[in-house]
């Protein structure tokens, strides 16, 4: 039944002989090129691989975004962005005051709210002046540009800034903190032509982490995490040498509801003969029952 097939196949014996030098070819080559996929098919394979992997990675990236946002927000915070050309005060997750600068060209920058001039350990917040487009230390006159670069006054450096990322909802994810540059050496200032601030009504003041309610003693006892606002009078006395008392105290003998303040250069601040009292609103943090990083808050003049 398969004889016909077999008989036909025997014809293969009439096939021409193989080349006599085939064994030499085995030993000495040339070898066969490994067949590469034709260019068209290779391109198609690469395109297909990209078409599958890119959306997959994108989806994974989008799906894990809330997790990543949360991880970042626990670090420094998420803030709102004002309209183009505007500067707004904001607070990081721990209450730290910052300013968000939205320039006309669309770029956005986060500038620290703290003056880098900290005489005798008492820090100060800055204000934004829209007419000169500068950050000003209204207590001692230091000034910085809208990017935080040093212009003039007693500050040793520019303002600290923060890296930031714009989120899908248009808000800004803040971090990390960037150490400010030192002020230029004398004679190398390049900001001499920046005008003085010509307004008091339109200044943008820093926003406080909390409303300033409760006495310094209450604040110290409540031991909040992060920054807290408090009103009081700073004067010499107490265990740490400096005490923040309820507003109105004229000296340690009239201090009520006070809390010790750490980190103050007591001799520098108070060793000037006359009795020094600094009254007003402060922001501070609480460590071991004492107020630390005590910072004066500029307030609109009534």
């Amino acid at each position: 039944m398969d004889e016909r097939v077999r008989r036909e196949l025997t014809r293969l014996r009439q096939a021409p002989e193989p080349p006599v030098d085939l064994w030499d070819r085995v030993r000495e080559g040339p070898r066969m090129q490994r067949p590469a996929a034709p260019r068209g098919r290779r391109a198609f394979t690469i395109a297909l691989a990209l078409a599958v992997t890119i959306p997959a990675i994108s989806l994974a990236w989008i799906a894990t975004r809330p997790l990543r946002d949360h991880a970042m927000s626990t670090e420094l915070g998420i803030v709102d962005v004002p309209g183009p050309g505007q500067v707004a005060a904001a607070n990081l997750a721990d209450g730290r005051p910052v300013f968000v600068v939205h320039r006309d060209d669309g770029t956005v920058e986060v500038i620290d709210g703290f003056s880098t001039h900290v005489p005798w350990g008492v820090a100060k917040l800055v204000v934004w002046c829209p007419t000169s487009r500068t950050f000003d230390d209204v207590f001692h006159g230091a000034r910085w540009t809208e990017s935080g670069a040093y212009i003039s006054g007693p500050a040793p450096t520019g303002l600290a800034t923060y890296g930031s990322t714009i989120l899908q909802d248009g808000r800004l994810q803040v971090g990390p903190r960037i150490t400010p540059a030192s002020r230029p050496s004398p004679g190398h200032e390049q900001q001499a032509d920046i005008p003085l601030c010509a307004t008091t009504a339109d200044l943008v003041y820093p926003t406080l982490p909390t409303a300033a309610s409760g006495s310094p003693a209450d604040v110290a006892a409540s031991a909040p995490s992060g920054w807290v606002a408090v009103r009081g009078s700073l004067l010499e006395g107490g265990a740490s040498g400096a005490e923040l008392c309820a507003l109105g105290a004229r000296g340690i003998s009239t201090c009520v509801d006070g809390a010790p303040v750490a980190g103050i250069d007591v001799h520098g601040l108070f060793g000037q003969g006359s009795e020094v009292v600094i009254s007003g609103t402060f922001i501070t943090r609480v460590e071991d029952g004492a107020l630390v990083d005590l910072t004066r808050v500029p307030e609109p003049q009534p």
Binding site: T10, L12, L22, V26
Partner: protein, 157 residues
């Protein structure tokens, strides 16, 4: 190069059968058959230690290389078998019929019905199960019979 195995002896001994099988398998495309056989032997010698039984390895490799080469030639549009008519006129019908078979069926039919290997041996040479070899054999023969029969009828019709 192996010191232990006599590859040259194996080559001389197996070449006639291997050559016919590859010549038939490639539809008389000598160059493809030569390339595949030489390359299969060279690779067997290269991988001597990891090749347990050289002859089946050489058959499998040669058939696979030839198969790939034919597929590429077909895609490139350079597949031609016209030279068979000049080189071996008696083979034209057979070659044309074999060409119409799928590669596995073609290889099994040649090894079994021409070279005389048993189905189990064919399976061993091609790296497939004996039952699979029998299935390919049955289908290949049926197809070949039909192809050759039709042509014969046409000749005499």
């Amino acid at each position: 190069m192996s010191e232990g195995r006599d590859y040259e002896g194996l080559f001389r001994e197996s070449l006639p059968s291997l050559w016919r099988a590859l010549y038939g398998f490639t539809g008389g495309r000598r160059q493809v058959a030569e390339d595949a056989i030489a390359e299969a032997f060279a690779r067997a010698m290269e991988r001597d230690r990891s090749v347990r039984d050289p002859l089946p390895y050489i058959y499998r490799t040669a058939f696979r290389l030839a198969s790939e080469e034919l597929r590429l030639d077909r895609r490139r549009g350079t597949l031609q078998a016209d030279h068979v008519a000049i080189e071996a006129p008696d083979l034209v019908d057979l070659i044309r019929a074999l060409d119409a078979l799928p590669p596995k069926q073609r290889a099994v039919v040649i090894l079994h019905d021409e070279e005389g290997y048993a189905a189990a041996e064919v399976g061993r040479l091609l790296g497939i199960a004996p039952t699979t070899a029998r299935v390919h054999l049955h289908r290949g023969r049926t197809r070949l019979r039909a192809l050759l029969g039709t042509e014969e009828d046409e000749e005499h019709g």
